[in-house]
């Protein structure tokens, strides 16, 4: 009997494949814009959505999606309008998000509080059929947006002012990157967990960056690493009964540690 004989495993595996592919594809833009911690913050904001879902009895995934997207737009708005430094604004939104999430969950009662861990750290047994439909729809939306706008997103991440002089609406594209990050965080919520999902956006890119010479190469290798770690992390967590999120993230960190000496060897040889 293998893991594929279980419905929940098939769903978890599909969810992991999707997040493994998408997260690094968005993450490469976050790394280039020096917003590597943005995904982490979006996870905090999404937690408010989860708390709200507990309290109102709505489905957690769509509720978290809506709250995370609203939070993403709010962050972009504050970043553009406010005089505070960008990271201070991020901090305000992040801590507000996690505090509101915990408070709402507490108000929703004991059962909600005990399942909070699953959302924070991911659990393969929790991906329902309904969740999967939401995740796949959101993933399709992210993928199509990436395909259409990736060149403009690249130009804006490279140099937003120069992009503006190419006729690109840099503010709009930059908000789009943040919203895509928010959606991706919610896609990864079930398998990787809100506190760890940002890692699968950033760590595979950090590993790929050690060995590649181009943006495209970094993104491509990052996606391969993210995908492989997400899939093998879910399978491992089935056999050795450990949380899937932590397993996936530790695997990506392992790839990073492996990439370091390979990278310096490559640099010496050229």
């Amino acid at each position: 009997m293998t893991f594929l004989d279980f419905d929940f495993m098939r769903r978890a595996l599909l969810a992991a494949m999707v997040i493994g592919l998408l997260a690094p594809a968005i993450g490469v833009f976050l790394v280039q814009r020096r917003l590597a911690l943005l995904g982490d913050g979006m996870g905090h904001v999404a937690l408010t959505g989860v708390g709200l879902a507990f309290l109102t009895g709505t489905a957690p995934v769509p509720t978290a999606l809506v709250v995370a997207v609203v939070g993403a737009i709010g962050i972009e708005f504050l970043r553009a309008r406010s005089r505070s430094a960008g990271d201070v604004i991020l901090a305000l939104v992040f801590y507000g998000g996690i505090a509101a999430g915990v408070l709402l969950t507490y108000l929703a009662g004991n059962r909600a509080a005990s399942s909070l861990n699953q959302y924070l750290f991911g659990a393969i047994t929790t991906v329902s059929g309904n969740d999967l439909i939401w995740l796949l729809a959101a993933a399709a939306l992210v993928a199509v947006t990436l395909l259409i706008f990736s060149r403009e997103m690249f130009a804006v991440s490279f140099d937003a002012e120069v992009a503006r002089t190419q006729g690109i609406r840099a503010g709009f594209i930059s908000a789009m990157i943040t919203v895509l990050a928010a959606v991706t965080v919610v896609i990864g919520m079930r398998t990787v967990g809100l506190l760890l999902v940002s890692a699968i956006m950033i760590v595979p890119i950090a590993a790929a960056q050690q060995v590649s010479r181009s943006f495209r190469g970094t993104a491509g290798l990052g996606v391969v690493i993210g995908w492989a770690c997400a899939v093998s992390g879910v399978i491992l967590s089935f056999y050795i009964d450990v949380p899937s999120g932590a397993t996936i993230v530790l695997l990506t960190l392992g790839c990073f540690v492996l990439a370091l000496p390979i990278g310096s060897a490559l640099r010496r040889s050229t």
């Binding site: 490279f158 006729g167 943006f215 495209r216």
Partner: protein, 251 residues
Amino acid sequence: MSIVATEGLSVAFGQPVLRDVTLQVNEGDFVALMGSNGTGKTTLVRTILGLQRPQSGASWLFGVPTTRFRDWHRVAYVPQRLTNTSAVPLSVEEAVRAALASPAHRWRPLSRAQRLAIDEALAMVGLQGRGKERLEHLSGGQQRRVMIARALATDAELLIMDEPTAGVDLGEQRRIAGHMRLLRDRNVTVLLITHDVGPVAGLSNRAIVLGHPDHGSVRYDGASPPPPQYSEHVWHHSHEGPSDPGLLEGP
């Protein structure tokens, strides 16, 4: 028709940075924009490009008010900062390719002609066959040449460059001047911020010298090089080390 025009342009960041700048750049002009640190040279080009809102006055690109200008493919801008600070590795070819990104080409992949233009542009600046290399592994001068290749690849009619020769040795400056001559020969209009009287500034047929904005920023607007009494605005500061962008030149 003037390619760039401004009228009574004033910009302040708390205190005045530019005051009452009225100028016209005509087709085929190669203008050296000069002035010591803090006289608002970078602010002026950023305002011309619509990246900085003026307190008063107006500017036009190709006869269209900058705020309503849409034909951005006619413009290429090379800022002063170098790009070797890219967080993600960036290849030379990608740095040039980024210049071709535009909302107009959203749906189409790069055409054969565009890919050829990238290769040709790199060849013209003496970097043929080096497109796959990491941009940050190139020297400062070579990176400037990549930025010029960006302009060459886009077929822009107006090139605005901020100090393309800052921190670059004389040999490399001569080479850059050679590539910029190609642009001039294509009848590209060039507006160039420069501190140096070196080979690149030597290509200019016109000079505009900015001074402190107390009573109007423009000190001189005429043939290049400017007469010696204006040069002190330009050259009296140190040439050593990386040039200080100046506190007044804004964000």
